[in-house]
C-alpha cells in the first residue's frame, strides 16, 4: 500500500505517474489525453496509462446511486493502487476521486488512492514546481473555471499561472468567472431550460471578452458551452480547447 504524501511533498524523479483520463474524454476528446502525453514527454516525466481504467463513478454518485459509485470507486482504487501520483485533466472527475470518495461510507482504500489524484494544472505547478511548461500558442484566450476545479480542488491559480506563461498567448479574463456554465452532468438533461439559460449567460460573457479561444480544465463544461454556440452559430470561429491542448502546443 502506497501512502498518500503530505500536501507539501513534491514529485521526485523516478516516481510513477498515472494518467487518469475521464471516460467521456476517452470516447469523445482523445486529443486531451494525447496532449497530456505530449506535454509530459516534453517535460521528461514518464507517464503511464493503466488500460483497465473505466469510469470514476461520478455519474452514479451525482445521481444518488452511491452503492454503484462505491463499486466503481473500489475498481478505481484497484486500477491505480500502485501509483503514488495520479494526474487527471478534469476538475470534476478529479474532485470525485479526491474529495467525494471520502463521502462514500467504508471506502477507505478508494479514499486513500483518491487523495493521490491531482488535476493537471495543480500537479504541474505544485508537484512539479513549474510556472511555465514551455508552451507557445498564438491567440487571445479566455479561461472558464469548472466549479469543482475552483471550489473543491482550488486549482484556479495554478491554471492561470500556466496560461499566462504561454508564449504568444494573450490572456483575457472572463467576466463572472466564478459562475457555473450550467453543465452539471445529470442536471444538463434533467433541467435543460435552466442548464441552457446558464450556458447562454456564459456565452455572452465569453463574447464580451473578444477571445478567439475558450479554454478550461474541464472538457464537460466546454462541450456544453461549445454545443450551445455551434447549435445557434454553426459558423462561429470561436474555438474551444482544453487547457492540456494549449499547454502541449509548441507551434
Amino acid at each position: 500500500m502506497i501512502e498518500t504524501s503530505a500536501p507539501s511533498v513534491r514529485y521526485r524523479q523516478g516516481e510513477r505517474v498515472a494518467l487518469f483520463l475521464p471516460c467521456y474524454c476517452d470516447a469523445l476528446f482523445p486529443q486531451i489525453g494525447r496532449s497530456v502525453v505530449k506535454l509530459f514527454e516534453r517535460l521528461g516525466v514518464p507517464l503511464e496509462y493503466p488500460m483497465e481504467q473505466t469510469c470514476c463513478g461520478q455519474p452514479a454518485f451525482n445521481a444518488g446511486l452511491w452503492s454503484e459509485a462505491g463499486a466503481l470507486a473500489r475498481r478505481f482504487a484497484d486500477v491505480f493502487s500502485s501509483f503514488p501520483w495520479i494526474v487527471v485533466p478534469s476538475g470534476s472527475c478529479g474532485a470525485m476521486a479526491r474529495v467525494f470518495y471520502g463521502a462514500l461510507e467504508g471506502e477507505v482504500e478508494a479514499t486513500q488512492v483518491g487523495a493521490r489524484v491531482y488535476d493537471l494544472a495543480t500537479f504541474l505547478v505544485e508537484k512539479l514546481g513549474l510556472d511555465d511548461v514551455g508552451a507557445s500558442f498564438a491567440g487571445t484566450v479566455t479561461y472558464h473555471d469548472g466549479c469543482h476545479a475552483r471550489r473543491e480542488l482550488h486549482a484556479t491559480n495554478a491554471a492561470l499561472t500556466l496560461l499566462r506563461a504561454v508564449r504568444g498567448l494573450e490572456y483575457v479574463e472572463l467576466p463572472r468567472m466564478d459562475e457555473c456554465c450550467g453543465f452539471g452532468g445529470l442536471f444538463a438533461v434533467k433541467y435543460p431550460e435552466l442548464s441552457v439559460s446558464m450556458g447562454q449567460a456564459k456565452c455572452e460573457h465569453i463574447a464580451h471578452t473578444g477571445a478567439t479561444v475558450v479554454t478550461s480544465g474541464d472538457a464537460s463544461c466546454l462541450m456544453h458551452v461549445e454545443g450551445l454556440v455551434r447549435k445557434t452559430q454553426p459558423h462561429a470561429s470561436l474555438r474551444f480547447m482544453h487547457l492540456a491542448e494549449i499547454l502541449a502546443s509548441d507551434g
Binding site: L28, E68, A71, A103, G184, K190, E193, L194, S197
Partner: protein
Amino acid sequence: MAKPFDRKAVARGFAHPTSSSALLATLERTAETSDAARRQVPWQALRSAAHAIKAYSIAHLDQLLEQFEAQFTARGGTVLWAPTVADAVAHVIDICHRHGATSVVKGKSMLSEEMDLNEHLSAATIDPVETDLGEFIVQLAGQRPSHIIGPALHLSRQEIGVLFERKLGIPYSDDPEVLMCAARERLRQRYLTAAVGITGVNFAIAETGTIVVVENEGNGGLSSSVPSVHIALMGIEKVIPRLDDLQVFLRLLARAGTGQKLTTYTHYFLGAEPGKTTYCILVDANRTTLLADPKTRESLYCVRCGACLNVCPVYRRAGGWAYGGAYSGPIGATITPALVGTEQASELPFASSLCGACQDTCPVAIDLAHQLVYLRHKVVEETRAGNPSTTRAIRFWAKAMQSLPAYRRGIRWLRRAARLGRTIGWYPGLLGAWAKQRALPPVPDQSFKEFWERRT
C-alpha cells in the same frame, strides 16, 4: 402544495423571460453589494468563528434550550414547546383566544410561513396582518413569499402599484415612497387595534435568556411592543450560548444578506416588560430529523440571510416558488426534504448543477452542495421517486463500467449513437435531451485507448 421543481412547471416558468431577467439583475446587484460589505471585515475569520459557535450550539442544543428556558422564564417570559408545526399553531391560537385577540400584527417570520400560520389564524377567525412591507404586499396579492428576506422580490413596482390601486383604493403610483407610505398608513391603525403581536427570532442567548430580532423597517419593533402580548416564534436551532457570541453573527448576517453593515434595528427582548405578556414558542418541526443525521446537521447552522439564494444560478432563474415550500434556494432544497418528507421534496436536491456557489457565499460555511448530493442518495434510497428510466440507465452504465470489455462496448455504442445522431439529427434517450439545444461534438475516429494501444 405543488410538487417542488416539477420539470414542466420549470419549463413553463421560462415562458416569462422578462420577470426572470429582472430577478436575475436584482440578485446580481445584491450579491455585488454584499461582496463589497464583506470586504470591510475579516470575513473568513468571522465565518469560521460563526461556524464553530453554531457547531457547538447544535451539539449542545438540549442543554442550551433548557438554559434559555430557565433564564427567559426567570425574567418573566413564558416558554412553550412545540414538537410539531401543528403544536405551534395550537399554541398561537390558544394564546390569541386567551387574550381575546381578533386580529394580530406580524413581524416577518419564516417559521410562520412554514406553519402556514396566516391560513390557520384566519380559519380561527383571527385576522393576521403582515407588517413587513414585502410580506404585506404578498399577503395583499394572495401570494407566497418568493425569497427568504425579500418576500416580494418577484414583483415589479409597477405590479405593486396596480395591486395597491386595486386593493387599497389609492390612485396608481409606482413611486416606492408613495407605495410605502400607503402601506404604513394602513398598518399604523392595525398596530393599535391588535391584541397580539407575533415576530420571529433571529438569535436566542442561552446565558441571558435574551431574544434577538433584527429588521429594517421598524415593524418588528412595533409588532412586538405596541400590543400587550408578544409571541416570539423560534426554531429550536436559533439558540447560541453567550451574549458575546452575538457580535460575530451581527457582523455577518446583514452583510451576507443585503450588504448592509447592520440591519436598521436590532431588538433585544429580556423576558417580559412590566404590564406585558411575552411568549417564546420553541418549535422543532423536524429540525431534530436534520440534527439526527451528521450529514444534514450543518443545515441547522443557517441564519436565514438569503445569501445562498442570491448567488444560486438555479434560484436566479427559477425563482422562489419553484421550490414549493417556505424556504427556497439552496438552503430550501437542503432542509425542505426533512421538513415536508423526502417523497414530497424528492426533486429538490436534483435541481442543482452542484456548482457550490452557495457553500462559498454562506456566512456560516454550511456544506450545502455536499448536502444536496447526499440528499440525492437519500432520495434514491428512501423513495421510488425521481426519473426511473434515468436511474436505470445510470445503473446499467455503472455496471458496464465494472468490466473493461463492457466499457469498450459502451464507448463504441456512445460513439456510434453520436455519429448516427449527427447524420440523421435524432438521438436516443439522454443524448436526445442533450442535443435538443446543444450540438454534440464531432466523434473522433480513434478513442484514447485505441491511440494508446497502437502507440505501445
